[in-house]
């Protein structure tokens, strides 16, 4: 997998690069700001761009803006945005609006396997949404249809929202894929969502549902 990293903290950038290289990926470019990121993406057309939200010059949200542009200009390049804090609803919108986009808190990299799995999923055109964000989306528990879910089903729903595949969910919950499939179809039924086979479409539907909730 060919990867571009945009991160202004050099120590973290190198650590991240090393981690990905250890996992057998190729880092084609390392940059420290949004403008250079757009340049190297045009140049290398990588499979994945890992992007920090706050970068020079304004340390505001240039990473996010660059990510949006990359998704518009280079559909073959997926983007995984890393942040120090939980961003907003419009991150959810971004993740939910199409595949090849992910949003994670930076400390998720400490769970190396999970992080690599998310990065690969996003690069393949899937989604990754940080569990913290999902937790927030699921917070209004007194919501009618959500209240009908069993605790286990809620767990599964959260993992679906994060962008996990059935296999990923099964692995995380130490159950068989078959069990996960049962849970998923039950959840989709309770929420009135289409039982699509495509894992990615399923994430979009769940996110759309959660977003619509007050």
């Amino acid at each position: 997998m060919r990867i571009v990293i945009a991160e202004d903290a050099v120590l973290l950038r190198e650590g991240l690069a090393g981690l990905l290289e250890d996992a057998g990926h190729r880092i084609v470019a390392r940059v420290g700001d949004g403008e250079s990121l757009l340049a190297v993406v045009s140049e290398h057309e990588p499979d994945l761009a890992i992007v920090d939200v706050r970068m020079p010059p304004t340390y505001d949200d240039e990473g996010l803006r660059a990510a949006v542009q990359i998704r518009q200009l280079h559909s073959e390049t997926s983007v995984l945005v890393l942040s120090q804090h939980i961003e907003s609803r419009h991150v959810v919108d971004l993740v939910g609006s199409g595949g090849g986009f992910g949003y994670l808190l930076k400390d998720r990299v400490l769970d190396v396997d999970g992080f690599l799995e998310s990065a690969e999923r996003v690069a393949r055109g899937g989604s990754a949404l940080d569990p913290e964000v999902v937790k927030q989306l699921l917070a209004p528990a007194d919501d009618e249809p959500l209240a009908e879910l069993t605790p286990r089903e809620r767990e599964v729903l959260a993992l679906i929202a994060e962008g996990k595949t059935n296999a990923g969910i099964a692995k995380q919950l130490w159950v068989t894929e078959k069990t996960v499939e049962t849970h998923v179809s039950s959840i989709l039924g309770k929420l009135g969502l289409p039982r699509s086979v495509d894992a990615h479409r399923r994430v979009l539907a769940v996110l759309a549902f959660l977003r619509a909730a007050p």
């Binding site: 120590l11 981690l19 120090q84 609803r89 419009h90 930076k106 990299v109 400490l110």
Partner: protein
């Protein structure tokens, strides 16, 4: 020019010599009335001195020459003429000339020209009448009055025929007519003039007005003197007429050299007041003296004492009354202006009008729409308008500046039309009346300005506080937190590159990385407490976040529209504070937060269903809330009846 100057000096020297001579050797019949001599000398010398003073500067000035020459025939030269009969004859005949020069001045004052060509007729007629009258009087064959009855009259050789009266009477009437014409000329010029010219005419009119006034005074004096068996009134009258000459000359001098020209209004005012006052007091005295005198006998000490006491007691109240009456009658504008300002001051005292309006009221009182009062603000080291606008430099737009308030440090400056300087009575009367209100207004303006400054600085401090929180939050996220992540990452990489035989370390390293992760979570929470990142996305997002982390259910109703960052931050922290309060003290089961934005005001309402009874105590959260709202120029209302929940409502001004 030179010849004029020489002539001036010669005439003046002659006048002085004659006056000195008349003083050194006074006429015999005046030995009994030596007190009259200084009056005589004064009446001659004053016009002469003033004439010479003007003539030295403007040798061709007609007025100066009238003063110089006109006073010459009035010198009592009786003793200086060797022919005693002729001397006494002249002395007896020349008295109308005392009026000669004042009338001449009345005709041509102040520019030395007649009012118009038509005025040449009365002017010429006046000259004929005066010369004819005095000339005819020189032929008077009558004997001289005692003690000169023994002196031979050189005209005694004939008897005046009866028809002479037919010539004499028209001449006398002509003199009276020219006196009237002079008064008319002054009056006409006064009506047509303005500015400095008008003030000059006022001076002359004032001096002229003294003459009839003096006659009334003298009449009263004679009555009193006669009642108490005093001196002959004719001498008193004479002395008085001489004084009038001096007065007219002095007034003319002031008017021509324009020294203290503006004092005339005040002078007229005072003259009127004291004239009326003395006439009334004199009449009162005379009346009391006569009435009591009939009862107690003429010349009784009791009568004098009672009359004096009555007059003394009446003096002050009467003076106030008369001053008011004179102001009302003769200086309506001043009277009305001062009344207006005084009425305003009463309204200020009753709290019906703000003292800052004093400038407008003064402008109304002065009938000067451009008049304005600017206040001296010592703390700001500047002048300022009533609106609080500072004026480091007074506007230089042709308006004249008059200080309001005491000398030394003025309270305020009145900027006004320079023409008002011609009405010093009006100007100073109104300014004096406006003093107290200006003083009050100035302090109010000053305090308001200082308060504004304090409020602005408080807002700046709060603003800086928000900025500081933002910076701190950034530092936590991008500094410490970032470092911890790299640290954890390094450990992970090391862990993954460990040789198989070191696998025993893996659980320990996992534990360390877990700790690092926990530290990052802690930092994230601290950063969120310092300033929630979601505030960048708007108040609604931030409040939703706040609600999510609350231990009691919170219902948020906030519009998604964006407002000024400082207002959003203020509203957020107010909501935080209110929510913390509710959680800590209210035992509430639920809280509702409502935000609305209308007409430039953000309304934030936080209500709970708890026990109520909340009161802002010193150092309490609610007091802090109060400060926070006030710093933004907003208002806070706390309603917390016992057992009925607490409702906190903050209104913050904002421009969206």
């Amino acid at each position: 020019m030179r010849i004029y100057r020489v002539a001036v000096v010669v005439v003046f020297a002659a006048t002085v010599a004659l006056v000195v001579g008349s003083l050194v050797a006074p006429p015999t019949e005046e030995h009994r009335h030596l007190w009259l001599l200084p009056f005589v000398a004064l009446a001659t010398l004053t016009p002469s001195v003033i004439g010479v003073l003007i003539a030295l500067r403007q040798p061709r000035n007609v007025i100066a020459w009238i003063l110089l020459v006109g006073s010459l025939p009035t010198v009592r030269i009786v003793t200086l003429i060797p022919a005693r009969g002729w001397a006494l004859q002249w002395d007896r005949a020349m008295w109308p000339l005392l009026y000669g020069w004042p009338i001449a001045i009345a005709f041509v004052f102040p520019d030395g020209r007649l009012l118009s060509r038509r005025w040449r007729v009365p002017a010429a007629a006046a000259v004929v009448c005066f010369v004819g009258f005095v000339g005819l009087a020189m032929f008077d064959p009558a004997r001289f009055d005692p003690p000169n009855e023994s002196v031979h009259n050189p005209m005694s050789f004939w008897h005046a025929p009866g028809w002479l009266v037919a010539v004499w009477l028209p001449l006398w009437l002509g003199i009276l007519a020219s006196l009237t014409a002079g008064a008319l000329a002054v009056w006409l010029r006064l009506r047509r003039s303005s500015g400095v010219r008008r003030l000059q005419m006022l001076w002359l009119a004032w001096a002229g007005g003294l003459i009839p006034l003096g006659l009334v005074w003298c009449g009263l004096g004679s009555v009193i003197a006669w009642w108490f068996g005093g001196a002959s009134s004719s001498r008193l009258l004479y002395a008085f007429l001489l004084l009038m000459e001096t007065g007219v000359a002095a007034a003319v001098g002031i008017a021509v050299v324009r020294y203290k020209l503006y004092a005339i209004e005040q002078l007229i005012n005072r003259t009127l007041v004291y004239a009326v006052l003395t006439i009334i007091l004199g009449a009162t005295y005379a009346l009391i003296a006569v009435l009591l005198g009939i009862a107690a006998g003429r010349g009784s000490a009791w009568v004098t004492a009672t009359a004096t006491l009555a007059v003394a007691a009446a003096f002050r109240p009467l003076r106030g009354r008369i001053q008011l009456g004179v102001d009302r009658r003769f200086d309506r504008q001043r009277f009305a202006g001062v009344r207006l300002v005084e009425a305003f001051e009463r309204e200020v005292r009753d709290g019906r009008r703000p003292p800052e309006e004093i400038g407008v009221v003064v402008a109304q009182a002065l009938l000067d729409p451009l008049a304005e009062i600017v206040f001296w603000l010592p703390a700001s080291h500047s002048f300022g308008r009533a609106t609080g606008e500072l004026l480091p430099v007074l506007p230089d737009d042709g308006r004249t500046r008059t200080a309001v308030g005491s000398r030394g440090e003025p309270t305020a400056i009145l900027l006004h039309d320079p023409r008002l300087l011609e009405r010093p009575n009006l100007l100073h009367g109104v300014v004096r009346a406006a003093r107290l209100s200006s003083e009050i207004a100035r302090w109010r303006v000053e305090v308001r300005l200082q308060l504004q400054e304090v409020e602005a600085s408080r807002a700046r401090i709060v603003e800086a506080g928000y900025e500081e929180r933002r910076r701190l939050e950034r530092d936590l996220h991008d500094g410490a937190q970032q470092r911890l992540v790299s640290l954890g990452l390094q450990i992970r990489r090391m862990q993954r590159s460990l040789p198989r035989e070191a696998a025993i370390l893996v659980p320990a390293l996992d534990k360390i990385v877990d700790e690092v992760g926990a530290a990052i979570t802690d930092l994230r929470q601290i950063a969120a407490g310092v300033r929630p990142v979601r505030l960048d996305e708007g108040l609604a997002s931030a409040l939703a976040d706040l609600a999510r982390t609350s231990p009691i259910p919170v219902e948020v109703d906030a519009p998604v529209e964006r407002l000024a960052a400082s207002v959003e931050a203020a509203a957020y922290f107010i909501a935080c504070e209110a929510l913390t309060n509710a959680v800590k003290h209210s035992s509430a089961s639920k809280v509702s937060m409502k935000v609305s934005h209308r007409d430039g005001t953000l309304m934030l309402t936080v209500a709970d269903d708890g026990i109520g009874g909340a009161a802002p105590r010193r150092g309490s959260g609610l007091a802090g809330l109060h400060d926070r709202v006030a710093a933004h120029g907003g208002q806070l209302e706390i309603a917390s009846p016992i057992a009925s929940g607490t409702r906190i409502q903050a209104a913050l001004p904002c421009e969206s």
